[in-house]
């Protein structure tokens, strides 16, 4: 007998995975978020989230950390990507590889190395928790910013820049009026890819002795205290926030869905 699969059958492994590891846990989270410890339906967790100053403070701290990280990444990545994409360097793929290479090294190892460097520079690294966390996350997520920017700048038609300067634009105007607007999809895509993980990646903070909670660590702390209900609610709220952010940014990058694609 010959083995034949149609397309539906080929979907089965993924569908099973989806049901057991995505859908089912989601329902479990939903269930815990809207019940109390005794299994009765309750909205107290929801109320807790928005009345507890601790939780709101953590949300705010996470947001500021994520936004600062994203902006720092953008400021460093844009010129780098611009130079890489615009230059005629024969070695530019080597350069690009150097920026991507850290992604291939285990991230705990990277952060440990960074910790050593920072303690060498700062002495007591626990004195600058916020700064160090930003540095750590920037280091960690930089490739996710560079790649989409690089791709969208690389795709930029050179004749558009020539046209802009032909019509009287100097180098700055050409950049501001043509290059920058046309790289917006890349910017949005890069920002999404840095902003969301840096709101939750508490391992970086832990390793760099930043004891302030961010969303990730807050959820962890509830779960380790066996408070499934409040932990689930926070996860759910975070999920909704991420969903909204993605929805809004997708609107911008719709035109240019390729920008997300990496070159390597």
């Amino acid at each position: 007998m010959k083995l034949r699969f149609n397309r539906k059958q080929l979907c089965i492994p993924y569908a099973v995975f989806l049901v057991f590891f995505v859908l089912a846990p989601l329902f479990v989270i939903l269930y815990y978020a809207f019940t109390d410890g005794q299994g009765k339906i309750s909205f107290s967790n929801f109320a807790n989230f928005f009345t507890n100053t601790n939780t709101l403070g953590t949300l705010l701290y996470s947001f500021s950390l994520a936004i600062v990280t994203t902006l720092v990444c953008l400021v460093i990545a844009y010129p780098t990507a611009y130079i890489l994409a615009r230059s005629n360097l024969k070695k530019k793929y080597v350069l690009l590889l150097l920026f991507i290479l850290p992604m291939w090294i285990n991230f705990t190892l990277r952060i440990t190395a960074l910790k050593e460097i920072l303690s060498l520079l700062e002495g007591n690294i626990s004195a600058y928790p916020f700064l160090n966390s930003v540095i750590g996350m920037t280091y960690d997520f930089m490739p996710f910013m560079i790649l989409p920017l690089y791709t969208s700048l690389l795709k930029l038609d050179k004749s558009l820049l020539e046209a802009a300067s032909d019509l009287g634009g100097n180098k700055l105007t050409v950049f501001l009026r043509v290059t920058l607007p046309l790289s917006v999809p890349g910017i949005i895509s890069g920002m999404t890819m840095v902003l969301l993980p840096s709101m939750t990646n508490y391992v970086v903070l832990d390793m760099l002795y930043n004891s302030t909670y961010i969303m990730g660590s807050l959820i962890g702390s509830y779960f380790s205290a066996y408070d499934w209900n409040n932990g689930s609610m926070i996860s759910l709220v975070l999920l909704v926030i991420i969903f909204i952010v993605t929805l809004v940014t997708n609107r911008f990058s719709d035109k240019d869905s390729n920008a997300r694609g990496a070159v390597l």
Binding site: E162, A163, S165, D166, L167
Partner: protein, 503 residues
Amino acid sequence: MDKNENIIELIDVRKVFDGDTVAVESFNLQVKKGEFVTFLGPSGCGKTTTLRMIAGFELPTSGKILLNGEDISKLPPNKRPVNTVFQKYALFPHLNVYENIAFGLRLKKIENTYVNKNGETYVKREKLTKSEIDKKVRKALEIVDLEGFEKRGVSTLSGGQQQRIAIARAIVNEPEILLLDEPLGALDLKMRKEMQIELKKMHKKLGITFIYVTHDQEEALTMSDKVVVINDGEIQQTGTPTEIYNEPINTFVADFIGESNIFNGTLVGKLKVKFCGATFNCLDDYEINQLVDVVVRPEDIKICTPEEGQLKGRVISSVFKGVHYEITVGIGKFEIIIHSTTDAPVGGIIGLRIEPDGIHLMEKVYTVNKYDGVITKTNKVEFGDGEFECDVTCLYAGSHLDEEGYLVTAQGEKLDLTGTEVDVEVDTHDIMMSDDLSSGGAQGNIISMIYKGDHYRYIVRTEDNEEDYVLSCPDMWNTGDLVGIIIPKEKIKLSLKVTEDGK
């Protein structure tokens, strides 16, 4: 404007890419204000590079570009009063039609004159006001016949409409010169014809100087006041469309512009030229016995009865082309193409007549190949990116080679020729091509072929140092073929280089 009415002048412009690829060589051109000038040539001939140097996207390696007498060679594009219509339009995808056209206007500053309280006039450089911009954009849209398209996104437009927007975006800035880089290349035939007429109309209406780049000879002849035929980075001929067509200066121009029959001819008397085995009266005056290329346009050959004809031949084929028949006639080993409004029966014998004004003579550019060569250790000669067997004894009269390979002169002197520099000459009909690349002394690609009635003239260019071999061959090869170059030993003519110390 003063007596110097050339709006733009290119003086000895040369452009070299990557250190050794010459794109444009000794380019000299004057364009008068209001002219429609076309750069015409095959792809890769340097026409677009020249245009880009006028626009400012490329800087000439040497030479000058003068605009109204001022040197602009080093100015960036935004400082030049010229605008470009790009080959693929290059419209800004993030802006709508209105904003695309207004792009240049929003950056422009104009000098306004004011009078202050004390009655003194002063000049202020100011941006255009919103209503000024609005008026100009609408005017430009009107010129290209796309009123009402202001709010449309550029990606929603058809190719022809995008082309018009690209033109509007350029002319709205009122440039002194409008540069057009194969602007109609991406349009279909019908659309292209329409746009050709419209561009011509626009040129008349606006009075702007147009410099137009195309590889389409028909387009060039239809639209231009002046055609500049370019090949291999050099101007071949500059003239009005009629001049270019009727009086081509060399076989390249004759072959590139329109169809032509090209033959080898010899002057046999005052204003008498012999080709295809017959003697014809001609109008071009050359010395007797001068070898020439003879160009005859297919429509300049008249069919008559065999008795009346200067030439007599058999009709090989006849193809109806709409307005005329394209008739191929075989005369001995020659083939002649004729355009005639009347048909001739295939296989029939007909006579042909050519009037003196239909015969164009041009001096042969290539009669012999000349190279600088060096004798190698094995008594071969190295030239033109290759190494060939040769007869070194022809360098010294009466000499011979001994067993060890040394040359012994008539006086008994023993010479080691290794490293001797020589001049090498090879006749065009002594070079042969072969599919077997290793069989020849050199190899290269066929870069040009021109049919000469009974044989083809080829130019083979080597890859390493771009040395050219010009040769005649009766067989048909294809341009771009990689071939081996074979030259028989006895056909390589060597002579010692005359050096200063007389050795």
